[in-house]
């Protein structure tokens, strides 16, 4: 943990060396998700509700998902460039060091420019919480926190899974984007909107619905079942198979590059 903190500091210093560029990229990141926000806004201006959800509810749903995504992205997106790390042989150097490879990969790239997205999701989240009519209770607050935590772990697991596949393919797999960036974009609305089949897939296969849809229903009083509280925790178990694939890949790894 202390090592990660050190990595963190070094990375901050390196970004701050290019102040203007950092600022502009951050603004850019901010705009990216603002675009999606505008999309939701204009759609719900035209259609007051979608499957009975109104704008404020969608906004809460969207911001919760975006918040967990940006948290996961900020700390775990180091895996994004994992294909390059393997490709140029840098991973061999990582392996000979006496520290966990995951930690080193993560530390090698921490995305501060994604702060823009972070700021935006926090802003949107506060606005949504302030606007929406929810009678907050202790269980609801806990549910909310677990939703964010569960979502962060879920996205982080997907980033690890993405990297783990690189062991086998040696290049990034574009279609994995549908599960990370795609999920971020389509998570704008409660998953029910995409129909029963997608809801099933996201319940049993890749548990987005467990951190988004079911606890969300409880939050907005559509369901009174407070045991949905535990679903995000269940979703965190998704980390285990991903970590398993990573371990498997690590054993399968044959060095490349020169």
């Amino acid at each position: 943990m202390r090592l990660y903190y050190r990595y963190f500091l070094v990375q901050i210093q390196s970004v701050l060396a290019y102040k203007l560029s950092f600022l502009l990229t951050t603004i850019g990141q901010f705009l990216v998700s603002f675009n999606l926000f505008l999309g939701v806004y204009f759609m719900l201006l035209r259609f007051p509700t979608i499957k009975g959800y109104n704008f404020k509810e969608c906004l809460l749903c969207f911001s919760l998902f975006l918040l967990s995504f940006s948290l996961a992205e900020m700390f775990f997106r180091g895996f994004d460039s994992f294909a390059q790390i393997i490709g140029n042989g840098e991973f061999d150097r990582i392996l000979v060091r006496p520290k966990s490879p995951i930690l080193q990969v993560l530390g090698s790239k921490i995305e501060f420019t994604r702060i823009g997205r972070m700021v935006q999701s926090v802003g949107m989240f506060s606005y949504a919480v302030w606007q929406i009519n929810i009678e907050w209770s202790m269980t609801k607050i806990v549910t909310l926190i677990l939703m964010i935590a569960g979502g962060t772990v879920l996205f982080a697991s997907l980033f690890i899974l993405y990297a783990a596949f690189c062991f086998f393919t040696l290049e990034g797999l574009e279609f994995m984007n549908i599960f990370t960036d795609g999920a971020r974009e389509f998570g704008r609305y409660p998953i029910e909107v995409y129909g029963k089949k997608i809801l099933k897939i996201t319940t049993y296969l890749i548990p987005y619905a467990l951190v988004q849809y079911y606890p969300f229903l409880y939050l907005i009083d559509r369901s009174s079942n407070s045991s949905t509280l535990f679903l995000p925790i269940l979703a965190m178990l998704f980390f285990l198979p991903c970590y398993g694939v990573w371990k498997l890949g690590l054993r399968h790894y044959q060095s490349t590059g020169s």
Partner: protein
């Protein structure tokens, strides 16, 4: 002209090499298309009368968008141009007896068309196989189809012309990331990549439709399905031509500025 065509050909053939990536891209785009359609279907069922175009036209729009995404994506840049400018290697390019503008224009055009030609057909095919109104329908009429083809070509030319100034700005800023991100995100929204432009509220919609971004994917896709037909369709195509000429002039002026007053980096 001949040398530019030769350049186009080499870059195009180079672009055709990435078949594995194209396959992955096709799968991603098909999944994306399905989810988009499911989403819009939910909106449609909640209040059909508020839907600004027929659902059929909407589906066609989505499938065309997915099929030609690599032709019209705003976030794809020729990174070697940027790195050449940053490292100073651009001096070699500037020393050649060709126009940098035309050369880079061709390079952009070639890699886009190469990417799209690998990906478009399978996605269009899947789109056609799907049951109506969720799939890609045939073109609205023969006239629409011919106009669609013209408009597709104009659209990609407008897009490249629209992106060219950003490469020249990099001569001044060196680090192109910031302006690029702002440009591509605003552009994404204004070109109708996030939600089709007819979904915007009146007034704002007319404003956005007059901007050059709207001359990119918005026009051909809507002509295809007949959402833009008759007089409106002609108007939109004329606007495309106008923006193309305008942007080409701007680009040429910028090229002149850069060539007259240039500081090449590196040594």
């Amino acid at each position: 002209m001949k040398k530019y065509l030769a350049l186009f050909k080499t870059k195009f053939l180079a672009g055709l090499q990435y078949r594995g990536a194209a396959f992955a891209g096709i799968i991603t785009q098909i999944c994306w298309g399905f989810l988009e359609i499911l989403l819009f279907k939910s909106f449609y069922t909640s209040k059909p009368e508020n839907f600004p175009m027929s659902f059929q036209a909407m589906s066609s729009y989505i499938w065309l968008q997915q099929a030609f995404i690599s032709l019209y994506m705003l976030w794809f840049w020729e990174n070697d141009i940027f790195s050449d400018i940053k490292s100073g290697n651009v001096a070699y390019t500037l020393a050649r007896p060709v126009s940098v503008y035309s050369m880079w224009f061709m390079q952009n055009l070639a890699s886009r068309t190469a990417k799209a030609s690998l990906r478009a057909i399978p996605i269009l095919f899947i789109g056609f196989l799907l049951p109506q109104p969720y799939g890609l329908s045939g073109p609205y009429s023969l006239v629409s189809f011919l106009l669609f083809i013209c408009s597709m070509i104009l659209a990609v030319l407008v897009l490249v012309a629209l992106m060219m100034p950003l490469y020249f700005i990099a001569f001044y800023t060196l680090e192109p990331m910031g302006p690029r991100m702002v440009f591509q995100t605003l552009g994404d929204f204004l070109s109708g990549a996030i939600i089709p432009l007819p979904f915007l509220p009146n007034g704002f919609r007319q404003f956005v439709e007059s901007l050059p971004f709207a001359s990119v994917q918005n026009v051909p896709f809507r002509i295809y399905s007949g959402d833009l037909a008759g007089e409106k369709c002609i108007e939109a195509v004329v606007l495309q031509v106008f923006w193309l000429v305008f942007l080409l002039i701007i680009g040429k002026v910028l090229e002149r500025c850069v060539q007259n007053k240039i500081i090449v980096q590196g040594g």
